[in-house]
Structure formats: C-alpha cells, structure tokens
C-alpha cells in the first residue's frame, strides 16, 4: 500500500496581523500560514530544499516572515514517510501547481528571482498564468479576419497558419470548436495535381505547406481523405541525388525540407519511399563544429535549423550522429537572463525559440540544462492578456505563429492543463500515438 499525500493552498482574507511564524519542519501535516500575495513554498520532506535552497530535515526550525500581501504556505503530507525520496516526483508536481496558483495571486519569489509586481493594467495576475480562454478566442477571430494588411500579407502561408492555430486549439483541448468538414474541404482545395499542397487556394505547391496540410488532417484523424501515394510521390520526388530535398520544383535546397519530407512521410507511414540513408547523411553533412546544424553544408547553426536536423535524425533513429553534450551546451546557452531563449549567440530572445530550442533539448535529453521556471515565466509575460495571443517578446504585437510556439513550449515544459506535444512530429502525443500505434 502506497502512502498518500495531500496538499492545499489557502488564500487568506486580507491579513490584519502578520505575525512571524515559526514551525518545526516535520512529517506532520497541518502547518498553515496565510497572508495575501507572495507564496513561499516549504516542503517538509527530508532531503529536499526550501525556497532559499536550504536543505530540509526533520527537526529544522523554519521561520517565515510574511511581508505585506504575502502568503506563506506549507505543503502537508500524510502517510508513511519511511522513504521521502519517493515523494520527490510528487513534490515537484506539487510545487508546480502551487506556483501556478501563486501566479494568480501576484508575483512570486523563488530562490533569488525577485521580480517587481506587475503593473495594475496587466490583467494576467487576475486570470491565472496562461490566459487560455483569451488565446482560444484570439485564434478563432484571427481565422475569420481576412481584411487587414497583416492577414493579406500572410495569405500565402494560410496552410501553416491553420496548422499553428489548430494545433494550439488541440493543445488547449478545444479542437472541437472547429468545423472539421469546413477545414478539411478547404485543405483539399489547396492540393495541386502534382500531389503537393499550396499555402492557399490557387497558390503553387510547396513541401512546406504539404507538411502543414498533412499535419492538419492528422489532427482531425482525417488522413483517409488523402490519396496517400500521390502525396508520397510528390514528397519523395523532391529528393535529390545527394540525399537532400528541394522545397519544390524550383530547387531551393535546405535541411528544413529534409525534416519536412521525413516528418510528412512518417505521418503517412511511407518513410520507406525515400532513400533514408542518403537523407540522413545529407543532414549530417550540415553539422557544424559547435555541434549545431545549418541550412546547407557550411551554414551557420541556428536553433530553427537545429530543430529540423535533430528531429529528422530522431525520426530516422539516427541521433548517434549528434554530440549531445556539445550541442546541449550550445542550446542551453540560448537561455538569456530574462529566462527567454534566443536562436543564435548574442541575439534577442523570442518566444518561437521556446519551441525550436526546447524540442531539440528534449530530443537529446538535455532539457534539464535550462531553467524551466524562468522560461515559463518569460512565455507567460509575452501574452496579450486583454485580447489573447502571444508575441515574440513582452509587449510586442501578437500573432498566431508565436501563439502556437508559446503554447507548444509550455506543453513541452509540462505546464498543467495542456496536452503533451511530441518534440519531433510537432503534433500532440495522442495524435502521434494514433498514427504510430494505430489507435
């Protein structure tokens, strides 16, 4: 019989008296200290550390001094604590939830990261960490908006826009708000007689939008509307003699297209239709001395390109070509002081790298080398909590692209309430399982 653990956080009415609170860290449940703002989380588990990094042990005296508007909370545990390490996993989760709750109250102190309280006109602290409802509304309205300049400029990549928006909705468990038949029939109208898809109706076919179309259909479990062989022939036909892939008949070569071809055919279960060995060796030929990858041999490492190459190698079981420690160090150094990630050394952070860098770090099992909490905070800071959507940097204009990468990044960070996403297929894990394991 496993021991059980319980926990809770109590929000107090505005405190009148703020006494010093002393308690002895123990295995006894029931220590409650309440204030009204910052939450200090103290875990009374042997071997764990408190918010200041001090080691916990039974019998240690903990003194909490809540300042104006602070909450001090103590997680309580019941059960057999003969082996506290057993609870590490649970405690991490619990800290996580407490932390999210804390976001609703106000800013949070963790370790040394003390951040100024948000200005009053920033509404996120009223609504909780992720403004999920707002983002859903934002995506649904952007989808309908067709008349402003931005929408017209983006018209040629509407297929990718559909993939970003719909995947975001699925991660937020709101895909059912979309009219499936409408989307599917629109997608199919973008297919060209060659088998490839264009970015919109009447636009030329390109491998970029072919993947987006296949991903959108996979989200809805509608791959059966495709002539799989036709799409496969289009993609396989773009492989060049050296193993690389062109984006379309006009011959632009880039490792992005290698990933796209491999991912697309993996979703269609037709990877055997290309020369995988040559495709892999081309990707490997784009590896740099810093461990990263570029567009073509000799091209500079860039996080987006690294994602493409790492994912291409993942999907073909070829990760042994990567020096995981070297690439991992380069990638983890993309995290800047604000907690956000940049895409190349000495560049500004951008929410989209929450996807490119994070997914790459996950695929090579080095994601623990960055500080996840700071990154979560950075992404949440880039939300437009009034009108929904996420931008590249705090207070910039939002778009669907960054909204998707922000939400997908949070999913990779195991943010509560979001579906898990697969780092290589860039689709929700349940969709990938359905494809791969036929469920």
């Amino acid at each position: 019989m496993l021991p059980t653990s319980t926990w809770a956080l109590r929000k107090a009415s505005p405190p009148k008296i703020r006494p010093w609170v002393s308690f002895v860290a123990s295995y006894d449940p029931g220590h409650w200290v309440c204030g009204g703002g910052v939450v200090h989380v103290v875990v009374a588990g042997c071997g764990s550390t408190d918010h200041r990094g001090t080691l916990e042990y039974p019998g240690r005296t903990v003194t909490l001094e809540p300042a104006e508007g602070e909450v001090c909370a103590n997680c309580s545990m019941t059960g057999d604590f003969g082996n506290c390490d057993m609870y590490k996993a649970k405690l991490v989760k619990l800290l996580w939830v407490l932390w999210v709750l804390a976001m609703r109250v106000s800013n949070i102190t963790f370790g040394r990261a003390q951040v100024a309280p948000p200005p009053l006109d920033r509404a996120w602290w009223k609504m909780g960490g992720l403004a999920a409802e707002k983002h859903i509304q934002y995506i649904l309205t952007v989808e309908k908006r067709k008349d402003d300049f931005i929408s017209v400029v983006m018209e040629h990549l509407r297929m990718s826009g559909a993939y970003w928006g719909l995947t975001t909705l699925d991660l937020l468990e709101k895909l059912d708000t979309v009219d499936v038949d409408e989307v599917v029939s629109w997608v199919m109208k973008c297919q060209h007689e060659s088998g490839g898809f264009g970015g919109n109706i009447g636009h030329d076919p390109h491998i970029l939008y072919t993947l987006s179309a296949v991903q959108v259909l996979a989200l809805f479990d509608k791959l059966n509307v495709l002539d799989i062989d036709k799409v496969t022939n289009y993609v396989a036909g773009l492989q060049n003699e050296d193993g690389s892939f062109s984006g379309d008949i006009w011959g632009e070569v880039d490792t992005r297209f290698s990933y796209i071809a491999i991912c697309c055919l993996s979703i269609l279960r037709r990877l055997n239709k290309i020369n995988v060995e040559k495709a892999v060796s081309y990707v490997v030929s784009c590896k740099n001395l810093d461990g990263g990858f570029g567009c073509t041999p000799g091209g500079e490492s860039h996080a987006g390109q690294i994602f493409c190459c790492v994912a291409a190698l993942s999907l073909t079981g070829s990760l042994h070509h990567i020096d995981k420690d070297l690439l991992g160090w380069w990638l983890c150094e993309r995290q800047v002081k604000s907690g956000g990630l940049n895409g190349r050394p000495e560049k500004l952070p951008d929410v989209c790298y929450s996807w490119w860098v994070l997914s790459s770090l996950i695929m090579i099992d080095r994601v623990h080398w960055i500080n996840k909490e700071k990154l979560v905070k950075y992404i949440l800071d880039c939300q437009d909590t009034e009108n929904g959507g996420i931008s590249d940097r705090p207070d910039d204009a939002v778009d669907v692209y960054h909204t998707y990468f922000g939400v997908a990044g949070l999913s990779l960070l195991e943010y509560p309430g979001l579906k898990a996403i697969d780092p290589a297929y860039a689709l929700p894990v349940d969709v990938v399982n359905r494809i791969v394991f036929g469920r």
Binding site: F149, H156, L289, W369, S391, D396
Partner: protein
C-alpha cells in the same frame, strides 16, 4: 511578426492598413489571374514586381518569375534578332527585382533563392555580387542568408578559402562579437587544416595564432558568447586525436579469468574481480574505443584461442538505436565443447586493428594496432550449487561489507594501464600540446584573478581535465580533480539557470576521480554478504550510491562489474551502461528516471537478472525526454511485435505501456522492484508479470507460479 510593438490600433492606422490591404489584395488577385493563365506580358511582370516589392515572401510570385524568364528565354532563342544582350537584359531585370525585394526584407528565403537561380543560368556577371554582399553584411553582419550567399558566390568566383578566411579576420577585427564570422572561420580553417594546405601544416603554428585571436574576444568581454564555442573547438583540436583508440576491454589485458566460479570461491590466489559465471554458455569479449567506430569484425580484430572453436566471431555494436557505429563492441567466445583440463589456464590473444577497416564516424582509421591477452581458467561447475536455485538479491545495507582486498590479487584498474598502447606521436607534437594547455591554464587563471566570470571558470575546468587526460590518456590520473570539482560547484552557484549542466559535468569528474586508481575504487567495493545469491559469479558489489550523481561516466573502467548499486543519486539517464555486459544485478532505486525509455541501454544487457527501479519518476511526466534515444516505432528503428493474445494483454491497452513492453520483453529478469513510481499500479504490475515470464519476485514479493 517580430519586434512590432503591441498597441491598440488607432482609427487612422486602421484606415491606412485597410487601404494598403486593398492595394495588396488587388495586386495578388491580378497576379494569380496572370499566373493561372500563363500570361507573361510586360504588364503582368510589372504587377508581379510591385507585389514582390511589398511582399517578398509571396513564394508563388517568385515561381511565376522563373516561369516567365524561361518563357522569354525560349522566345529569344527562336528570335533570329536576339543576342546575348537581350538574354542579359532579361536576367538583369530579375536581379533588380530581387534587390528591391531584399531592401524590403533581407531575410526573404524566396528572394535569395531567386538570385541564386538567376546566377545559376551562368549568363550574368558576378562582379556586382560581392559589392551587394558587402552592403548587406555591413547593414546586418549576422544575416545568415547573406553569409550563405557569400559562400555560394565565393565558390562561383573560385575565391580561395585563404581569402575568405582573411575576410572573417577583417570582420572579427571590426567587431569581435560576430558569431557568424567565427563560425565561417571554423568551417574554412578546418577545411584548410584537413587539406594540409600550404601555410596550414603543421597545425601547431596555425592553432597558436587562433588562440591569440580568440583570447582577444574572450578577454575583452568574457560574457560575450561569440568566442566561447570557437575556443572549445580549438581545445578539441589541440588535445584530441583524430584516430580512434582502444581504451579498455573485458577481459582486461593480462587478467586471469575464472570461468564458472561460484560465489563460495575463496581461493586466495584468485581475485573475485575476475571470476565470472555464465549460464549462457559464452564469455563476452568487450572492446571499448574512445569514440564511435564502424568496421569491427573478425578481419579487423583477430582472436586466437582454444575456446573459440566455432569458427568466425560475430561482433555486435553496443548501440541503443541499432546503428552500425558504436564506441563499444561485443562478441561472445564459446565455452569449450571439448572437455578441458580443469586445472589449466587457456590463453586468449586479441589483436585489434592489424588489418585496416576500423573507422571513426568522422572517417579516421584506427592507426594504433594493439594486442591484449588474458587467460581463462575453467573451474568445474558444482552441480549441487547450481541446482540450489536462485534466491532473491537483497540490497539491504547490512548485506554489504567493505571489501578488503588482498595484496597479491590482480585488480581491475591496474590492468588498464598495461593495456596502454605505445604512443607513436612525435615528441614535438606532444610537447606542443602540453605547452599550449599549460599556457592556456595560466592565462585563464590570470583572467579569473581579475574577474569572476563563468566562461573563465568553465574553460579552466575543461583545460584542467584536458591537462590530466593528456598526462595519461587512458588511465585518467586525475591530478586536478579536486580543483575541477570545486570549479563546477562554484559554477552551480554562479550560473544557477544552467546548474544541472555543471552538475552533470561534476558527476563525470567525480566518477573519473573514483575510478582513477585502485585505492579510491576499493573504497566503493563491497562484498555482498548474501552468500546464497548464486546469480552472481562473484560477490563484489560496486556501490556508487548516495553520491548525488546526475549522470554515469567512466564506464570503460567498470566493465568488470556484475553487481552495481547506483541508488539514491539524481540519475535521469543511464546512457553508456550498455557497455557493462557482465551486469547481473542493478539497483537504480531513488533516482530521477522519468520514463521506461530511459532504460533503453538495459536492453543490451543480456545477463541482467535483478533490477530495482523503485522510487523514480516513471509515469509522473507528460514529456518523455528519452523518447527518441531509445529505438522504437517512433524513430522507425524497430516495430513492436504486439502480442494479440488476450491472456497476455488482458484488459490492458498495450499502447499505454508500449515503452515498458519494449524494454522488458527482451530481459530475462528474475526479480524487479518498481514500487514508488507513478505508473506502478496493480494493473501495470500484472502486465509486467505477464510480459516477463522469468520474473520470480516483484517488489520483494515472491510471485505465485501459475
């Protein structure tokens, strides 16, 4: 959208935006109409050019221009009045359209590709291209499109790599904070070094100059990352051999292996480190290289022995994703079929690399032919003990006694030194290495005395490790290990967001320290008191528990280990453990393993019998970080043979447990502990019992036999 401030639209802005949108929409629909009707008139091309000037990302418009160019070139070919000038003028228009599009957005993939496509026709003059590039690279010295284009133009113009190297020098001298320039430099320089181009051989002098260049960047602003990765690359170039090297083996050189020895063996002349018991009827022979190699087979490694009577040996790469490249390779020597004299030693001699064929993944040949030898002593198998049956292995603390070694016995570390292959490098080269590293160490100590910076500490730690490794490339005598560990501990505090990186590095150093000599290693060797556990061929347990290890390392020195306690650490992965082919009992309890796929290396351990993974985080995480490091249907590395049998699957949906199925189906475990993982409910346990029919104990409970 990047870098646009978020602000509520003002009414006048909205009106302007609507007007702009209207204009663009008109252009787009006019264009699509021309495109769909294959109209390539002057008017159509002008509409297209206007469209691309506003929206260079409109890829179909670039495609259309290419169609138009081809159409007009065909026309001019058939026109008797046309000359090369008319072809040129067609192409020049294209170059101009690209230029104006790039002025609007010089990150436009479509525009850059169109320019390459036009130049690829081989009709245009390239003189203008470098000037254009200079302008763009001045405006944005980090634009990777421009750098890619520069490489393209340089190769069209046959500009020498030496000249391009000079260009990167100029760029760096202008502003050292230019990672793009450092990157291009590393590409060019490594090509020149590889080709041994004039002035770039020997590499010593070249590298010294590069060190000086990068020092300027690092010491001017240690927080600027531009030079960090270049310096690390130089360090690699300085200390690493290109050619792969054999670093260890099992059985070790000069060892006396006692085969079929039981755990009661107390012959003082024999070391328990070398006793080995196998039910499989084979002895594994493991070779461990310093880097992944391919081409290990019976012609590149010859084994001479009486034991191997069954013809050619088959070597298998120990790779977790079924690749044919691996750092560690294994083959199996058969037990003698003939009745061997039980009191004799049978010599085995292994020659590695006397025939060409062992090649590193970067294409370098194994160039240090080496030979190692060991003897096998076959001890009669005592039927009584064998029939005694297997008992549960207990990891209880009071079962362990610190191992007291006897001086005369052979030890597992010493033999590694004897394996040392003669270094045939030139004296001067190794002197240069030592001098360079010593110089670097001095410089970085100086830097740190002036400023407390993380790159200084990290580089110093790396340099000290490189120094120690150079002193003894195989035995890794760690002179500086204490200092390095302290540096990493400082870094954990100094740069807390990356603390886990430093923890991982520290764990590696700690393990190098522990395994660096016999005395330190023996402190972690225990005699397992539970004499009845006849799973073990010997009774030595290596206990690396409670050391805050976050990753494994130094496995090349632990190939002899049959019982390993790694409990109460912070391990997230057990990468590399697949090399420990003798392992039969493994305790991984109380670590941070978060999924079954993290146990992928265990699939290659055929003698594993007892596995404790209790109190980990399996089932607690929605994101699996080892999902693609373990071969599975996801990575197309293998398919799962689902067992449709209802009695096996019961009411369990196999898709929920595919990871566990993948890991456990090939293991012949007799005991396992999984309690304390979120996934380990009753349903899962009954699933596990069904897919591992050899299992006798689960979570300390004896299973009822069906």
């Amino acid at each position: 959208m990047h870098g646009q401030p978020r602000k509520p639209p003002k009414p006048e802005d909205e009106a302007a935006s609507a007007a702009k949108a209207e204009k663009l929409r008109n252009l787009q629909s006019q264009f699509l109409c021309f495109h769909h009707n294959n109209i390539y008139s002057k008017e159509a091309l002008e509409v297209n050019a206007k469209l691309l000037e506003i929206n260079p990302e409109y890829y179909t418009a670039w495609n259309y221009r290419k169609l138009a160019v081809e159409h007009r070139l065909t026309q001019s070919e058939s026109d008797p009045d046309s000359d090369s000038d008319s072809v040129n003028s067609i192409l020049n228009v294209e170059l101009k359209v690209v230029e104006s599009a790039l002025r609007q957005n010089f990150k436009s993939y479509g525009a850059w590709h169109h320019r390459k496509w036009v130049l690829g026709k081989g009709q245009s003059s390239l003189d203008h291209e470098l000037r254009l590039l200079d302008r763009f690279q001045k405006a944005d010295s980090r634009n990777f499109h421009a750098w890619n284009y520069r490489r393209f133009v340089a190769s069209l113009l046959n500009i020498s790599e030496v000249d391009e190297l000079q260009y990167t020098t100029d760029m760096i001298n202008k502003n050292f904070s230019n990672y793009s320039a450092w990157h291009n430099r590393s590409v060019l320089l490594s090509n020149l070094l590889k080709k041994k181009a004039q002035g770039f051989f020997p590499k010593e002098k070249v590298l010294n100059e590069e060190y000086e260049l990068v020092h300027q960047a690092l010491f001017t602003d240690p927080d600027d990352q531009s030079g960090w990765f270049y310096h690390l690359w130089l360090l690699e170039q300085t200390v690493k051999d290109d050619a792969p090297l054999l670093v260890s083996s099992w059985p070790a050189h000069d060892s006396n292996l006692i085969l079929l020895g039981d755990s009661c063996l107390e012959d003082s002349a024999l070391s328990p480190f070398n006793t080995f018991h196998s039910e499989l009827g084979t002895i594994p022979l493991v070779v461990y290289f310093n880097k992944a190699v391919e081409g290990v087979n019976s012609s590149t490694i010859s084994v001479e022995s009486l034991l191997n009577t069954k013809g050619e040996l088959t070597w298998k790469p120990l790779s977790t994703n079924n690749s044919q490249t691996a750092q560690v390779w294994v083959t199996y020597l058969n037990y003698p079929d003939i009745k061997l004299h039980s009191s004799e030693f049978y010599p085995v001699e292994v020659s590695v690399g006397h025939a060409q064929g062992i090649i590193s993944s970067s294409g370098f040949h194994y160039s240090h032919p080496s030979r190692f030898a060991f003897k096998v002593f076959v001890r009669p198998f005592e039927k009584d003990l064998a029939g005694h049956g297997v008992e549960m292995v207990s990891w209880r603390e009071d079962n362990f006694l610190l191992y007291e070694s006897r001086s005369q016995e052979s030890n597992p570390i010493l033999s590694l030194d004897q394996l040392n292959i003669k270094d045939d490098h030139e004296e001067s080269s190794s002197e240069w290495r030592a001098e360079t590293i010593a110089n670097e160490i001095a410089l970085f100590r100086e830097l740190l005395s002036e400023i407390n910076c993380k790159i200084g500490k990290l580089t110093l730690a790396r340099l000290l490790i490189a120094h120690d490794t150079m002193l003894s490339p195989i035995a890794n005598k760690m002179v500086h290990s204490e200092e390095v560990i302290e540096l990493y501990s400082d870094l954990i505090k100094l740069d807390s967001p990356h603390s886990q990186y430093y923890k991982d590095e520290r764990s590696s150093v700690l393990l190098q320290q522990i395994t660096s000599n016999r005395e330190t290693l023996l402190r972690y060797c225990f005699r397992h008191g539970d004499r009845t556990s006849s799973i073990l061929g010997n009774s030595i347990c290596l206990r690396l528990n409670n050391l805050s290890l976050s990753r494994m390392g130094s496995i090349e020195k632990l190939l002899w280990v049959q019982m390993l306690d790694l409990s109460h650490n912070e391990l997230r992965s057990i990468e590399g453990l697949e090399a420990m082919q003798l392992l039969s009992c493994l305790n991984l309890s109380n670590n941070k393993l978060s999924s079954f796929t993290a146990l992928g290396p265990l699939r290659l351990l055929k003698s594993l019998k007892a596995l404790d993974i209790s109190c980990n985080e399996i089932g607690s995480h929605s994101i699996d970080t080892t999902r693609y490091l373990c071969s599975s249907p996801l990575s197309h590395a293998e398919e799962i043979d689902w067992i449709p049998d209802e009695t096996v699957t019961g009411d369990v949906n196999l898709t929920d447990y595919w990871e566990a199925f993948l890991i456990f189906k090939d293991l012949n475990l007799t005991q396992s502990d999984i309690v304390g993982n979120a996934i380990a409910d009753e349903k899962f346990k009954s699933f596990l019992v069904k897919i591992v029919p050899t299992l006798k104990w689960l979570d300390g409970q004896e299973l009822q036999l069906h």
